[in-house]
């Protein structure tokens, strides 16, 4: 039969030679290999002290962004929900009332914004669809939960901390990913 690739290898069915049957040479070879590993650099990361840096294209949990004054960016336009191939995002829009200008940047905002993390495939299409820089995929993993309803993330879970009252947490949640996006 003609081989499809040139990578095919004939199986060796020769009877074992004496040195092969004696096992010891093979064992010595194996022991040399394991001994060699003592001098190799370990790829293991010393986890709690050191964390592995994420790749620049890593997509973790979502975050609803605020601007520099702490106002929510999201205008509940629904483009992210439309872009979502897994249909994980639902939202309800509401109109901004007078006196709420410090809370929401534009006249319309999301009164309810939910992402079902069990459906989400972390594709990042919501982030690309958003015209207002409002939704980002951060550098955090989706945590485990005991109940299915715990995976439906509402606005309190998603909203980034306020940059004015809580600048440290804001910077942490924002991470390096958003900076890269902004500089683009």
């Amino acid at each position: 039969m003609q081989a499809l690739t040139n990578r095919a290898k004939q199986v060796d069915r020769k009877p074992m030679s004496f040195s092969e049957r004696a096992y010891l040479p093979a064992i010595l070879k194996g022991m040399a290999i394991t001994f060699g590993h003592m001098f190799k650099k370990r790829p293991t990361v010393n986890y709690p002290e050191k964390t592995r840096p994420f790749s620049p294209v890593f997509r973790g949990l979502h975050i609803l962004n605020r601007d520099e004054e702490g106002r929510e960016n999201c205008t509940a336009c629904g483009l992210c929900a439309v872009a979502c191939p897994a249909e994980a995002i639902t939202m309800e829009a509401a109109e901004r009332k007078t006196g709420e200008e410090n809370l929401y940047r534009e006249e319309k905002y999301a009164a309810k914004y939910e992402i079902n993390m069990l459906r989400c495939i972390f594709c990042g299409l919501c982030e690309e669809a958003c015209p207002k820089d409002a939704i980002y995929l951060s550098e955090t993993f989706a945590p485990a939960n005991y109940q299915r309803k715990g995976f439906i993330y509402a606005k309190d879970d998603l909203l980034i901390p306020d940059p004015k009252t809580n600048p440290d947490e804001y910077a942490k949640a924002k991470g390096n990913r958003v900076k890269r996006e902004n500089s683009k």
Binding site: I27, G30, M31, I33, T34, F35, H37, M38, K40, R42, P43, T44, N46
Partner: protein, 354 residues
């Protein structure tokens, strides 16, 4: 009547026994740490590093955990035997250390003290006798658990240990023909005067080494603990410190067989390439003895490392392979070795020097 007893001699031996037993316990403890560390390094991991610097307190943490775990004795087990099993395993493991010479004499408080608990003139036979009793710990444990997997595993362990003891004994006979003595101390002295036995008996050492692995139930011969076939083996029903004793006994056995291999084949406490008498004059007898003990321990540590190194290299044997190796390879080889050694010794005795 009791005035005739040399009380100081008794105290001296008692102290020695306590020191030797606690030393072997501490070494067994830290072998568990070293085992994990060696495994980690060979697999490019880090190993225990949480408890203390380099994870050095890990054995204490493990011990604490084993002590405080709930003790479960299965309803249908044979109560007394169930407790006796791990005790026997531990007892036989520690008993072997009695005849091992740890060093030469030291001179303290006007007395010459032998660094050996008992210089029995059948030392090596004693070691073999106690070692073969070790299988009872496993066998009784497996039987008393009232679990067929434990029993099967215990059967395996028993037949394995008995099979390999034969080859071990025969390979040793060749060594004894050269040295002409059964006392471990004399064997060491014999090697101090001449060259180490490993040079004269390389094949015998190899057989002895393989059999020692099998006797200690160490990988690649740890068929008594095959998790995937016997879902854990003879200690499956054991919990807390009783399980700890079984695991501990394995490490003590490992330590003791390392000491015995060092003593029989690698000159015991002999310091290589050093003229002992000359050095003794310079630094005095006590320091010399300390050096001797240190030298023996270095050899032992090398052997312990070797045990671990092999464990993380060679996969477990299949049971029929194990039996084939023991009966069809090692015993004939050991017999052959014995025959050749016997012929050479005989020729030497008849002044046929070559």
């Amino acid at each position: 009547m009791f005035l005739l007893i040399d009380w100081i001699f008794l105290i001296e031996k008692l102290v020695l026994i306590i020191v030797v037993v606690s030393a072997s316990l501490v070494i067994a403890m830290y072998s568990t740490w070293a085992e994990r560390k060696v495994a980690a390094i060979m697999q490019d991991r880090r190993g225990p590093n949480r408890a203390g610097p380099f994870g050095l307190l890990q054995p204490l943490a493990d011990g604490g955990k084993l002590f405080f775990k709930e003790e479960i004795i299965p309803n249908l087990s044979t109560g007394f035997l169930f407790v006796l099993g791990p005790c026997l395993a531990m007892l036989t493991a520690t008993m072997t250390s009695a005849v091992i010479p740890w060093g030469n004499t030291i001179h303290l408080f006007g007395r010459d003290i032998q660094l050996q608990v008992a210089d029995v003139n059948v030392g090596i036979l004693y070691v073999f006798g106690v070692l073969s009793l070790g299988v009872y710990g496993i066998m009784i444990g497996g039987w008393a658990s009232n679990n067929k997997f434990s029993l099967m595993s215990a059967m395996r362990a028993a037949s394995q240990i008995i099979s390999y003891e034969l080859a071990m004994g025969i390979s040793l006979i060749a060594l004894l023909m050269i040295t002409g003595t059964l006392s471990l101390k004399s064997i060491v002295n014999f090697q101090m005067d001449g060259i180490w036995n490993i040079v004269k008996q390389p094949l015998g050492f190899l057989i002895f080494l393989i059999c020692a692995f099998a006797e200690c139930n160490r990988t690649p011969f740890d068929l008594a603990e095959a998790e995937n076939e016997l879902n854990f083996g003879y200690h499956q029903e054991y919990s807390s410190m009783k399980l700890g004793f079984y695991l501990f006994a394995e490490y003590i056995n490992m330590f003791i067989s390392s000491v015995i291999m060092a003593t029989l084949f690698f000159g015991g406490y002999d310091i290589p390439f050093v003229n002992d008498a000359h050095l003794m004059e310079k630094i005095g007898g006590n320091w010399m003895a300390a050096l001797h003990v240190g030298c023996l321990f270095i050899k032992v540590v090398c052997f312990l490392f070797f045990f671990m190194w092999v464990r993380w290299t060679i996969p477990r044997f299949r049971y029929d392979q194990l039996m084939n190796l023991g009966w069809k390879t090692l015993i004939p080889l050991a017999l052959f070795n014995m025959l050749v050694t016997g012929a050479v010794v005989l020729l030497h005795q008849n002044h046929w020097h070559f």
